[in-house]
C-alpha cells in the first residue's frame, strides 16, 4: 500500500497496520496458550510441595509399621498397606484373565454382528459408570449376597477382601478390556495369517503370536488400571470397608482397610495431627500411583521405538 510512494531501498517486508496487529496477537497467543497445559500441573506441584512439607516430618518407619490408633502420634499405615497389597493382588488375579479373555473373544472369536456390537458398546458405556455405582453393585451382590426368588445366585461374603477385590475387578474391567483390544489390533494381520497358513490352530496363533505381540500394550493398560484400583476409595466405602483394622490380614476372607480409605479417615478428623497423618499417607499413595504410571509410560515408550 505505502510501497507505491516509498523509494525501492526502503521496502520493508514487515507487515503494517492491522496485519501487524494480527500477527503480533498471534505471536503473543503462543505464549499465552503455552501456559494452559502447565496450569493444572503447576497447581498439582504446588499442592504436593505443601503436602510434603506437612507430611514428611511424620513419615518414618514407625508410621509405616503401626496400626491405626486413636492417638495420632501412634497411628500408622500397617494394616492399610497390607490390605492394599491383598486387595490389589486379588483384583489382578480376578480381572486380568477375564479382561484378556474378553479382548481375545471380541477380536478373534466373536461373530461379526449385532451381539458383538452390543458387547462393544456396552463396554464403552461401562467405562463411564461412576465408581460409587460399582460400590453399590458390590454391596448388594458380593457383600450381602444375591438371590432371585429365594435361590442363592451369589453367596454373601461380608465386607471381606474378596468382596472388595471382586468390586474393583468389575470396576477396572472395561478399561482393561479396551486397552487389551487396542493392543491386539496393533498386531499386524500378516503375523496372524502366516501362523494360520502354516497350519497352526486359531488358539495356537493366539497363544504364540497374538498375545506375545500384544503383551506390552496389555501390560500398560493393566498397570494403569491397577493404579486406579490402588487409589479407589468411594466404591470400597460403599461396600462398608470403613472398619478399624488392628491386625495383619491373613486371608481373602478378612475384613480390611486400604491406604486411600485410611487417608479419608484421617482427612475427616478435625485434629491437625491427623491431618499430618493424612498428608504422610498421601505421600505414600502418590509414590505408589506415580511409580505405576511411570512404569506404564516406560513400557509404552520402549515398545513404540521398536
Amino acid at each position: 500500500m505505502s510501497s507505491v510512494t516509498a523509494p525501492p531501498e526502503q521496502i520493508s517486508l514487515r507487515a503494517q497496520g492491522s496485519v501487524a496487529r494480527r500477527q503480533a496477537l498471534s505471536r503473543a497467543s503462543r505464549y499465552l496458550l503455552f501456559v494452559a497445559p502447565l496450569v493444572g500441573v503447576g497447581v498439582l506441584v504446588i499442592l504436593m510441595i505443601n503436602t510434603l512439607r506437612t507430611g514428611l516430618p511424620v513419615l518414618d518407619w514407625q508410621f509405616l509399621t503401626s496400626y491405626p490408633s486413636r492417638l495420632p502420634e501412634q497411628a500408622g499405615l500397617r494394616s492399610s498397606l497390607i490390605g492394599t497389597a491383598f486387595v490389589l493382588v486379588t483384583t489382578i488375579i480376578l480381572s486380568i484373565p477375564v479382561a484378556i479373555g474378553s479382548a481375545v473373544f471380541l477380536e478373534e472369536f466373536a461373530p461379526r454382528g449385532r451381539f458383538t456390537n452390543l458387547v462393544r458398546l456396552n463396554i464403552a458405556n461401562l467405562a463411564g459408570v461412576p465408581s460409587i455405582i460399582y460400590g453399590i453393585l458390590g454391596l448388594t451382590v458380593f457383600v450381602r449376597g444375591f438371590e432371585i426368588q429365594g435361590v442363592t445366585v451369589f453367596p454373601a461374603l461380608g465386607t471381606t477382601i474378596l468382596a472388595g477385590s471382586l468390586t474393583l475387578a468389575l470396576m477396572i474391567l472395561p478399561m482393561t478390556i479396551i486397552a487389551a483390544v487396542e493392543a491386539i489390533r496393533q498386531v499386524p494381520p500378516s503375523i496372524r495369517d502366516g501362523s494360520l497358513a502354516l497350519g497352526a490352530t486359531r488358539l495356537q496363533t493366539i497363544r504364540y503370536h497374538i498375545l506375545p505381540g500384544a503383551q506390552p500394550g496389555i501390560m500398560t493398560g493393566t498397570i494403569l488400571a491397577i493404579s486406579r484400583a490402588a487409589g479407589e476409595t468411594a466404591a470400597l466405602i460403599m461396600i462398608g470397608a470403613f472398619a478399624f483394622i488392628a491386625f495383619d490380614n491373613k486371608s481373602v476372607n478378612d475384613d480390611f482397610t486400604t491406604v486411600p480409605i485410611q487417608i479419608y479417615n484421617w482427612t475427616t478428623r478435625p485434629q491437625t495431627a491427623f491431618q499430618q497423618n493424612a498428608a504422610a499417607g498421601i505421600i505414600v499413595l502418590m509414590v505408589m500411583v506415580l511409580t505405576l504410571n511411570l512404569i506404564a509410560v516406560l513400557i509404552r515408550e520402549r515398545y513404540r521405538r521398536k
Partner: protein
C-alpha cells in the same frame, strides 16, 4: 467357523471360557440395572413420585421429618458441574489448542503424559487438597473467614476442574488433530495467522468432538464422590452459588454408606433412588458423547 479348526480336546474349554469372558460385561450391566431399579421400586412404594420429583427439600437420615425432594441433591451436583467447568474449560481447551496447533511434536510428546498424570491422581488426594489447602489457605484468606464456610462447593469445584483437565484437553486435541490439513492450509493461503486458523477454522471444525470431550468431563464430575463428600459439605442446598455448603447426589450416597443404614429402611432404599438418578444422568451423557464422537469420526474418514 471356529469349531472346524478345532484340533485339540482342550480347545473347546478355552473357547467356552472366552465366550464367558465376553458375557461378563453384559452381565455386569444387567446386574447394575436390575439392582438399582428393584430397590428404587421399593423406595417408591413408600415415597410418591411427586414427593421425589416435585418437592424441593431433601431431608433424609433424621427420623420423623423425612422429605425426599431430589432437586436439592441434583442442584448440588449442578453447582459443582457449573463451577468446575468455569475453571476447566478455558484451561482445558487452551491446552488442547496449544497441543494441537502450536506445540512442536517433541514438546507435545513431553507435555501430554505430564498432563495425563492429573487424571491418575487418586481423588481422595484431591479431596484432602480441597479441604486443607484450597479452603484454608486460598479461599479463606481471599474472601474472608466469615464468607467461606469450611465446607464449600468452590473448593471442591476447583479440584474437580484440575481432575478433568486431561479429559477435556486430550479428547478435544484428538478432535482438532483430526481436522484435515487442507482446511488449515486454505486459511493460511488466504493470509490468516496461526491464532485465526486455530480459533476460526480448526475450533469450529472440531466443535462436535470438543462438545463430546466436555460431556465426558461433565459425566466424570457428576460421578465423582470423594472430592465433593469431603470438601463440599453434607447440607442439601438449592443453590448454584459457589461459597455455600451443599450436598451432591454422590455425597449423599457416601453419607448413607458411612451411616450403615439397615436393609429395608427408607434410608437404605433412598440410596438406590439417588443412585438410579445418578446412573440415568451419567449414562445419558455418556451415550450422547459417544454418539457425537462416532458421528464426527465418520465425517472425516
Amino acid at each position: 467357523m471356529s469349531s472346524g479348526t478345532l484340533k485339540r480336546p482342550g480347545e473347546f474349554a478355552v473357547i467356552t471360557f472366552l465366550w464367558i469372558c465376553g458375557a461378563v460385561s453384559l452381565i455386569t450391566t444387567v446386574l447394575i440395572i436390575v439392582i438399582l431399579f428393584t430397590e428404587t421400586i421399593d423406595f417408591f412404594r413408600e415415597v410418591s413420585l411427586g414427593a421425589f420429583f416435585l418437592e424441593t427439600q431433601w431431608q433424609a437420615l433424621i427420623p420423623g421429618t423425612e422429605s425426599f425432594g431430589v432437586w436439592e441433591l441434583v442442584a448440588g451436583t449442578a453447582n459443582v458441574v457449573l463451577w468446575s467447568m468455569v475453571f476447566a474449560l478455558p484451561f482445558g481447551l487452551g491446552a488442547a489448542i496449544y497441543l494441537s496447533e502450536y506445540a512442536h511434536p517433541r514438546t507435545r510428546s513431553i507435555l501430554k503424559p505430564i498432563l495425563e498424570v492429573l487424571a491418575a491422581v487418586p481423588t481422595v488426594v484431591y479431596a484432602f487438597f480441597a479441604l486443607t489447602v484450597v479452603t484454608e489457605q486460598v479461599l479463606r484468606p481471599l474472601f474472608g473467614d466469615e464468607n467461606v464456610p469450611i465446607f464449600n462447593s468452590l473448593s471442591a469445584s476447583l479440584m474437580l476442574a484440575v481432575m478433568v483437565l486431561p479429559t477435556i484437553a486430550s479428547v478435544s486435541e484428538d478432535a482438532m488433530s483430526n481436522v484435515p490439513r487442507e482446511l488449515r492450509e486454505g486459511a493460511y493461503g488466504l493470509g490468516a495467522t496461526r491464532l485465526e486458523v486455530a480459533f476460526k477454522v480448526v475450533f469450529p471444525a472440531a466443535l462436535s468432538g470438543i462438545i463430546a470431550a466436555v460431556l465426558l468431563a461433565i459425566a466424570r464430575v457428576i460421578g465423582e464422590t470423594m472430592i465433593v463428600a469431603v470438601a463440599a459439605g453434607s447440607t442439601p442446598n438449592l443453590t448454584l452459588l459457589p461459597l455455600e455448603s451443599i450436598q451432591t447426589m454422590t455425597g449423599y450416597m457416601l453419607q448413607v454408606a458411612l451411616g450403615d443404614a439397615a436393609r429395608g429402611t427408607i434410608n437404605y432404599t433412598s440410596l438406590f433412588a439417588v443412585a438410579s438418578t445418578l446412573f440415568v444422568f451419567t449414562f445419558t451423557i455418556n451415550v450422547i458423547a459417544s454418539f457425537i464422537v462416532s458421528r464426527f469420526r465418520e465425517a472425516y474418514e
